[in-house]
Symmetry: C3
Subunit: 390 residues, 3 copies
């Protein structure tokens, strides 16, 4: 010891370790081995195999989605009796959000004038002109009150007269779906993704796919897993909806494309996984999806007319999720280290058990320690006895 | 020892632990207890209670947003003198991005012809025809120069004549907000979320809510926290804007819906939290939100006319964030393990302090060790003394 | 020991540590120091300096994007011979997704009537009326079959007659880009971000920027890094596309704005970083971006006409990614702790090596232990000898 202190450089090559004690208590030994086994199983089975704790997962993904709907539907409107994608897909530009009209109420040839308010607007009914405040605009109403109470057309109720786009929209008769053909519309989805940090880009369309294949194929998990064209009816039923119901009232559908690319494996194995889910509850209040839009035109006299459409349909929302996982030394170390610390916890528990188990023989243990102590201390000065006991 | 080696199976049941030394140095003992207390407080108070370190947090959320704006505004345009949602909400289909027009400049009846360029376009002024290069299209200009310098209508300055949609848009007079009623417009927001990995879906609309409640209620944190209808004026003021200012120049508002669902608790406790924030700085350069669009029509002669609108208003952007937290054995172990390692660090520090504190009594400590060593080594052969000292 | 047990409070101030053994085996010592050095380098160099393991990284960012395209292009359509942003940018409202038309096919003056199907539609050709099932709507077709086989206009092939918007669109001649001026269009991008948890908001536009600067500047990494106006041609070439090719067929471009804000540093140092990437593969099948839209009008007789446009162009998608990193005590502790555990692993390995290295001198080591044991046990009762060996 004294020699070491005289040469500080030598100190560098010293290695300090702890003094181990081996006990042959079979119960504690077995317990410890059992504990080690559990930890090992946990480490290998759960942390490494199941949870892939040796990998870092990155979910930053750059994605681009192109959609195109095709199909023809016969409808009955003043505007036209045939609808193509230019009519029933809103908005036009095929992005990741698109709406396919499956039912609608047309209110043709509206002009700005006065007419009785729709009875479906809250607080619109009246019995007397005094109920209608002139200039007031009811929330959710169609115009500004003129101050007159008026009989609605072909209806027995009286409502306040308004100035607005007239005639007002009629409440929806529980009509059958007007675009019956919508079930057979096809939705083409092109998805291109990029993991910038790994410099990898993938697309959901096979490079081998010929244009003619894409023009005629239909996605099918078994026969055509790489065909990017989906039948609208299939999408709807896979999302758990009944087509007829939702086509009438509208609904939101999430088309989820999942990419899980393991960069420790061959990245050509990373394929898109499609899933479809209904994004709406079944409660009547919160169900459905509709909105209104108008088409304007002017007549020879310069007066503006508009056709109002309240459209119901499927809101398709393509959501792309991607995870890139790759071996990470930091993650591996953190996971292994915390498992090893767990091992130390096991060791500590075993120590405690050992201590309690030998309590019965504590007298003897005590005497063992005492014996040891006595030997150790037999040459020590008196006042240091209180400081250390080992 | 010799017996153990003769039966290797017995070795399995051996348990190796370290030899502990107990010191009764009160200062170090107290320090260590204090250290233990701090670590425990940190572990329980910070890691577990505050940061919920026993949970894994997943922020992958599938969300669908439906919005609908209602309200009527009196405006003064050639097109119509009353605007409903079909006119002032762009785009029509109520998604998570929507724009509500609150102010606009109409340039009616534009046709493709020649007219002097607007003086507000940079480098458009001229003194002579030579300043105007024929066929050149100025950046941010309204058309292609014809090569003539011309007096602007009702203005003393001369600008280059252009071929384009004429007349050009007039610079904005600092006019008062034209859609004053916009403050009372209502915005209905329906949000449906799904945590696929937990198979949980929630909506911000109470199942108990009747259609009539939603048609008449107005969101209020105290009285109507579950009403999904917001007054536009309230949204704007909660975002920290003054309505009059932003209505005139436009602005972006983020409507944040936060879901924090703790799957260790009852998930019926996971409610949406709304917050509103201004998404724009107050610097004049970067403030405001406007864009232009045109409506086209043809006259009897087949000539195309257009009405150009430069619209200012609120860009509402519904952002949905969700976190699902759930007990995770891996996270718990990693956190506990790292705290325990920290404990080991404390132990190490105490060891070092102990070593230094007893330096004064080092001679005695040394002699203690020496004494111990002498006993241990008294029966050892001479050459092993250099290898081990304990 | 007996004294301590009589006063349990005193026990609190006891400090239990392990008994260390110092070996002067130079090889193991050196190995351990080397191991310590590696761990230290790893901890400091990799975990702390490179990976910033002392920081927690939050990528929840609220972002708002405003875009505006400017430029004039001469085109040749029945509709107008000059296109401004109102015509070539779809949709109008400048959000984070925008499409700039660079090429298009116009099919003017379509009406609902009968005409031969386009030969480019699969399975549209026929030799006889029997090939055309009346009432059938071919997928990707333009209308509903009338049951007649008919000669296409100016073409030798026979196709089934359809009822739909006629005449049908002609297949694209490999025409030159029709909006040649698109290369010089400018795209203004305003991005406002907010890190709510840090209460920090930033914009990509310098506060010092005057309106006139923004109206005339053009982004340039060296001379104008803070100018938010980009030339479309530059964007396209930086994304790795050749302008002429993509302008003809269309393509998707991702404009990535990255904010990496280190909240331990001055946040005024956190600037946007722009990068551009092509979001499409080069395979002919999956390349390109186009969609169709129609403009409707009515003639004096009330018949609806439409102009159909198939537009090709650049889909620009502004993606904003942001990371806010800040010192986190939990992360620091987890990282340090796991590294220290790693140190313990090194220590364990050294122990094992030490054990094997001294195997040659094992007899002596054994005798050393024996010697120690004999001394310790010399005063113990006989039956406890089997339980402990130290």
């Amino acid at each position: 010891m004294a020699r070491r202190c005289s040469n500080p450089l030598l100190y560098l090559f010293n290695y300090t370790t702890v003094r181990y004690v081996v006990t042959q208590n079979k119960i504690v030994g077995l317990l410890y081995r059992f504990f080690q086994l559990i930890i090992m199983c946990y480490l290998i089975g759960w942390v490494f195999v199941t949870k892939k704790g040796y990998q870092v997962v990155d979910d930053t993904i750059e994605s681009s989605v192109v959609t195109k709907v095709k199909g023809i539907a016969r409808v009955n409107t003043t505007f036209s009796d045939l609808w193509g994608p230019e009519e029933y897909v809103i908005p036009d530009h095929g992005g990741k959000f698109l709406f396919v009209v499956t039912n609608f109420i047309e209110t043709p040839n509206q002009t700005l004038t006065t007419c009785p308010e729709s009875p479906s607007v809250p607080f619109s009914t009246c019995t007397h002109d005094d109920n209608c405040t002139e200039g007031e605009a009811v929330r959710a109403g169609n115009g500004i009150k003129t101050g007159t109470c008026r009989k609605t057309d072909g209806n027995e109720t009286n409502t306040c007269e308004i100035y607005g786009w007239c005639p007002t929209e009629k409440p929806r008769r529980e009509a059958a779906t007007m675009l019956r053909e919508a079930e057979n519309f096809t939705v083409y989805i092109r998805n291109f993704i990029k993991f910038s940090q790994f410099n990898l880009s993938k697309t959901n369309i096979l490079k081998e796919g010929y244009p003619s294949y894409i023009k005629t194929c239909l996605h099918d998990e078994i026969h055509h897993p790489y065909c990017p064209v989906f039948r609208l009816g299939d999408i709807v039923s896979k999302a758990g909806y009944r087509f007829e119901e939702v086509a009438a009232k509208g609904g939101s559908i999430g088309i989820v494309i999942k990419w899980s690319c393991d960069f420790d494996m061959d990245t050509s194995d990373c394929h898109p996984q499609y899933s479809f889910m209904s994004m709406g509850s079944s409660t009547p209040v919160t169900a459905g999806y509709n909105f209104r839009f108008a088409r304007y035109s002017s007549d020879a006299a310069g007066r503006t007319h508009r056709n109002l459409y309240k459209v119901y349909g499927f809101q398709l929302n393509v959501m792309v999720f991607g995870t890139a996982s790759q071996f990470s030394i930091i993650h591996t170390i953190i996971n292994v280290a915390s498992v090893l610390t767990l091992m130390a916890v096991g060791s500590y528990i075993c120590d405690v058990i050992l201590l309690f188990m030998v309590k019965k023989k504590y007298a003897k243990f005590e005497s063992l320690i005492k014996a040891d102590k006595e030997i150790a201390l037999q040459k020590m000065p008196d006042h240091s006895k209180r400081k250390f006991s080992h």
